[in-house]
């Protein structure tokens, strides 16, 4: 866990209000793992006050990439940092995905910005495992293709790929999926997680999800980021320390 000032190398606008921010930070890239995140202070002023958490989207040598949607004040300040400006990064934070257990094919499932952590994950798995990617969004504008291998897509409005959600997309490809020893790595909105939970249950698939919630510190100081255990009712994990990655059966989503 480090606190660094990483200079902006490049900022690419992938699509209206979706940005890919590349910063130079060898200290972080040398230790970070897929599924971990960073908590970023976008200003030294009292507004916006809190750091903003972002998944490690990709790592390219000494360069760390973040992919984000401009939601409000924090992300818009971040999107407009000039080249060379220092970005105040706290990280790597959280547990990250477990890439090493027993499967042949990594099935990546992302909804909207939920695609963010997967370019890094795919880079790590390339050559080691087969990768199938399933990305869903409201319209074609929300479909992230950056760094995705064997990409299948679905949109609510049918403007790209299958008309439907990403769970429908998985069901479309059920035969392929059934024919392999898979593990699902997923990130996206709550409804997607709920659909996925049923899917995994029905087909009894091993699945890890990267969760989100409002955070203050990002590393265990504030107790502000609880997620309830699905096993032991009323017990809370901390998304920032125990997560953000959980087995889909372990948490209430």
């Amino acid at each position: 866990m480090l606190l660094v000032q990483a200079p902006v190398k490049e900022t690419i606008e992938l699509d209206h209000s979706i940005f890919l921010l590349k910063v130079h930070s060898p200290e972080i890239t040398s230790i970070i793992k897929p599924g971990q995140f960073l908590n970023i202070r976008v200003t030294d002023k009292p507004y916006p006050l809190l750091r903003r958490p972002f998944s490690a989207c990709d790592v390219d040598g000494k360069h760390l990439m973040l992919m984000f949607n401009v939601m409000g004040e924090g992300t818009s300040i971040l999107a407009h940092k000039p080249k060379g400006a220092p970005v105040d990064i706290l990280g790597p934070l959280g547990n990250g995905f477990n890439l090493d257990d027993d499967y042949d094919t990594a099935v990546v499932v992302g909804g909207g910005m939920g695609a963010a952590p997967f370019p890094f994950l795919q880079r790590e798995l390339k050559g080691k495992k087969e990768i199938l990617t399933f990305i869903g969004g409201r319209t074609h504008k929300d479909i992230i293709t950056y760094g995705m291998e064997n990409l299948h897509t679905a949109t609510d409005d049918g403007s790209e790929g299958l008309k439907g959600n990403v769970i429908d997309l998985l069901n479309e490809n059920l035969d392929v999926l059934k024919s392999k020893k898979i593990k699902i790595f997923a990130c996206g909105p709550a409804p997607m997680f709920r659909g996925l939970k049923d899917f995994c249950h029905e087909h009894n698939v091993n699945c890890e999800v990267s969760t989100e919630c409002a955070m203050a510190c990002g590393f265990g100081l504030c107790q502000g980021c609880p997620i309830e255990s699905a096993v032991d009712k009323g017990k809370y994990y901390l998304v920032c320390k125990d997560g953000p990655v959980f087995n889909i059966n372990d948490v209430m989503i």
């Binding site: 202070r41 009292p46 507004y47 006050l49 203050a216 265990g220 100081l221 504030c222 502000g224 809370y236």
Partner: protein
């Protein structure tokens, strides 16, 4: 060897400098120790401990506000037993005064907690939280009643000779009445302030953003209120004050000390810059040099009010 004497005293407790880390903003010290040398701090205050472990409130617990944040953690903590077993060993490694903050739902429970903890010699003082806005039973109900504050103070005082600090609620008409009660009850100091009660709604779902409905407001937004309450206590009660509320840099620390604080605590800032406290101590020293104070205590309550 520093040219300026930054040390301060809270009752019999001597602090290297006035900068402490506030309860609930550094857990039990582990995580923050990666960014701040605990040995350099004036003191560290634990998350509020209760007799039994508390799971805390369901999500959402945190909401950001303009220059502030609301929290409704609900005193999630490991409880006194697990604290002794699992947390003290880590804290023992450091040469920093450990202050145990205690929260409870009944007067007896406060006493019970102190009984269990008082013989841990690593614990150098107790801070009694009579002011947590985020649990129905505990804290606030006491915090708003002068008599119970006096009573809790007396009973805890009877239990331990260690320095006793009462952490006051700002959600009252006249905080100095509570400081008086604490003093009369035998407290060595008061901490001011805890968070202000606040809330926030989602305008589309029309639900409160926090499951607990209300939460505690902290951060720079509350600094002017905290300073006014520290000043009010300082002007009407002769007791050491630990100033808390919205401190973001050394200038804020100086402002609190001028307003009457003997020491201060850094809270929300730890989330934003976990390395801030160390820098602040250094800058505090520079300020004293520049202003030609050879002892920081000369600055305490040095307000020029004609």
């Amino acid at each position: 060897m520093s040219e300026v004497d930054l040390s301060v005293k809270i009752g019999s407790l001597e602090l290297k400098n006035p900068v402490m880390l506030a309860s609930g903003t550094v857990g039990y010290g582990n995580e923050i120790s990666e960014f701040t040398d605990l040995n350099k701090l004036g003191g560290i205050v634990t998350k509020s401990l209760s007799l039994k472990p508390r799971k805390g409130n369901p999500p959402q617990r945190i909401v950001e506000t303009p220059a502030g944040m609301l929290n409704a953690i609900g005193l999630a903590n490991v409880g006194v037993e697990a604290f002794i077993k699992d947390k003290i060993p880590f804290l023992k490694q450091y040469d920093v005064p450990l202050i145990c903050n205690i929260a409870a739902s009944t007067v007896e429970e406060y006493v019970e907690c102190v009984k269990i903890l008082k013989d841990e010699e690593v614990i150098k003082a107790f801070e009694i939280n009579v002011s947590c806005p985020n649990v129905n039973e505990g804290g606030l109900i006491f915090g708003n009643d002068v008599k119970s504050v006096a009573r809790i103070t007396e009973l805890v005082r009877a239990e331990t000779t260690k320095p006793l600090i009462i952490k006051l609620s700002p959600n009252v008409s006249k905080i100095s009445d509570f400081a008086k009660a604490a003093k009369e009850g035998g407290a060595d100091a008061v901490s001011a302030i805890n968070t202000l009660v606040g809330t926030s709604f989602n305008i589309f779902t029309r639900k409160p953003k926090m499951h607990n409905i209300t939460g505690g407001l902290s951060g720079p937004a509350i600094k002017p209120v905290a300073l006014a309450q520290v000043l009010e206590i300082s002007r009407s009660v002769d007791i050491p004050i630990i100033g808390i509320g919205g401190i973001m840099d050394w200038k804020d620390v100086v402002e609190f000390i001028i307003a009457g604080a003997t020491a201060i605590q850094i809270g929300t800032l730890n989330f934003i810059d976990p390395s801030a406290s160390g820098k602040i101590i250094k800058q505090l020293e520079n300020y004293c040099l520049k202003m030609e104070f050879d002892k920081l205590t000369d600055l305490t309550a040095s307000y020029n009010i004609d």
